[in-house]
Amino acid sequence: MKTNPARRALIAIAAIAAIALSACTEGPAGLFASIASETPTNTNMTKAIKNSSQSFVVRLGSTSTYYAGIGTLWKKADTDNRWTQADTSGVSSSTIFAGSAAVIGPDMYVAFFDSATGNGLGVWSYNGTIWSHVDPGFPAAGRDLRTLLVANGKLFAVTANTRTLTTEIADYSIHHLLGTTFEDTLIDSNPTISEQPTSMAFSGGLYWFTAGDLILNGATETSFTAIGTEPPSGSAYSGVSANGADIYISSRTGYLYHYNAGWLTAGPFNDSKGKAYSLSTPTYIAGSNVLVVGTNRIPTSSTPTVDGYLEFDMTQPFATMTPTVDHGIISNANNFDTSLTGRSVSATPLIDLGGGDFKLFALTNNYGLWSNTYDSAEAAWQLWVRE
């Protein structure tokens, strides 16, 4: 029988139409609706840092200026539209990297590194006008500067032993700034420990540190001890923050811990495939009663899964709390989908702008610097935008 081309075509049309009318698969979001409700996140973006990674953001209140370590030191005053490179000629005439920073009162302290060799150059303070080398003899020979930490208005520096062979065992020291010099801080009566301190907070008259599988605390800057009773099965701590008498600690294995006269554990927090997130230092935002925790790619050897940040409504019981699905406390589902979803967020520093206003930053790996401002006049977060 000879096939009629018209009939064949009509059958094809009918088949396609039948598929089209029956194959609508329900997803969690309307694709077109999602695009239709997008709000611009790139309006005031600085293109030069669009795909950057950042090591810190601080605000020097005396000059109303933000500073960020994006390789070199960058700055943005409240009156500026864009981020620009800060003038560090008072530190060195060559290119130098800003690895970490802290603000205490009217001064910003920055740890600088040689851009060519990666060697630590030391710590400089900046009052908005003049750079001053802090304790030029620090770190001592045989020690490398790793990071600066701050809490309770006190500046601490972490150093490691200089190693030329990868087989050499690393040890780490904490030093505190006393006047104009860095003094050693003893840890369990020793000048060094085997784990690197990465984060610190101050609560209840105690300094708290996370250092790998250790949690340290102490009442004075001169000596700390590894705490005797850690959270059950606690390990691989990544960061600590405080809110009043409450201590919050995160881990690289997806757990959050809370301490207030006793430990509570929440998690592990996993992605949809059951793989645990590596959590960044938690940020507690008291006014919004929310805990924000970045998911990051550290350690790179195990390539942890990432999805921006987790947001917890802290009116939930801690031990059974779950992250919000729509990120709706400081953002919303669409804003999250158009900003940090699927990205590695290494830190979420919160900066108090005074008058009830706050700016929360999200430091990312190769996805630029993001911020979200809480406007007390509107009593609302203004959503994530790209810096």
């Binding site: 396609i16 139409a17 009318l21 609508c24 329900e26 979001a29 611009p40």
Partner: protein, 199 residues
């Protein structure tokens, strides 16, 4: 929800069938030279741009701005002639567009179209309309929806074997969700240039 498109589809089949029947009798009555004849085919590769025009929100009975930028469009099409005036065409097509926040929307409109040709010397005007399905992807989200396509091509016959064409099509894609707040009808315009081989 699906009864209306089905009704439209059945009506289109009925009208299309009538049209094909009429044109077959016309071609039998014609004995003059024609540009195309039954059994001819045109295979064309098209490249150009796809422009998101906007979204209709049936829940709010309002049009919403596109919030996205023109992107890149491509298509591989085949037209099979039923007679000297009518052809049936099929498209494998795709288009990439960026949202205002640089999210990438991919839409693949796959369609079957009825084509009416009007030869004018070396040129041929070919208005067309059809149905199909559109596969959309935005990040990890994907959806398959019905597609209505209409437009026209202008072909310039460069040789016996080859033509160049300019095409402009409108794609209407109703993306329907059980949560009606997520339902939108997407309107897209494709403007492409083709190189077409006559088989």
């Amino acid at each position: 929800m699906r009864s209306f498109p089905l009704t439209v589809f059945i009506a289109a089949l009925a009208l299309g069938g009538q049209a094909f029947g009429q044109d077959q009798s016309m071609s039998l009555a014609s004995s003059t030279y024609s540009s195309f004849e039954r059994g001819d085919g045109i295979l064309s590769l098209s490249l150009g741009t796809t422009v998101p025009l906007g979204w209709y929100n049936p829940d709010a009975s309002a049009f919403e701005k596109a919030n996205s930028k023109p992107g890149f469009a491509f298509a591989l099409s085949y037209e099979g002639f039923l007679n000297q005036y009518w052809a049936i065409a099929g498209d494998l097509a795709g288009g990439f567009m960026g949202s205002i926040n640089d999210r990438r929307l991919f839409v693949a409109p796959l369609s079957v179209r009825a084509v009416r040709v009007f030869p004018l010397g070396a040129f041929t005007i070919a208005p067309t309309a059809g149905l199909g399905l559109a596969i959309s992807a935005l990040g990890e989200y994907k959806h398959i929806d019905p597609l209505f396509k209409a437009g026209s091509s202008v072909l310039w016959r460069a040789s016996n074997d080859m033509s160049y064409a300019a095409n402009i099509y409108a794609n209407v894609i109703p993306q329907i969700f059980s949560d009606s707040t997520l339902t939108r009808v997407g309107f897209f315009m494709e403007a492409t240039l083709s190189v077409a081989y006559h088989l």
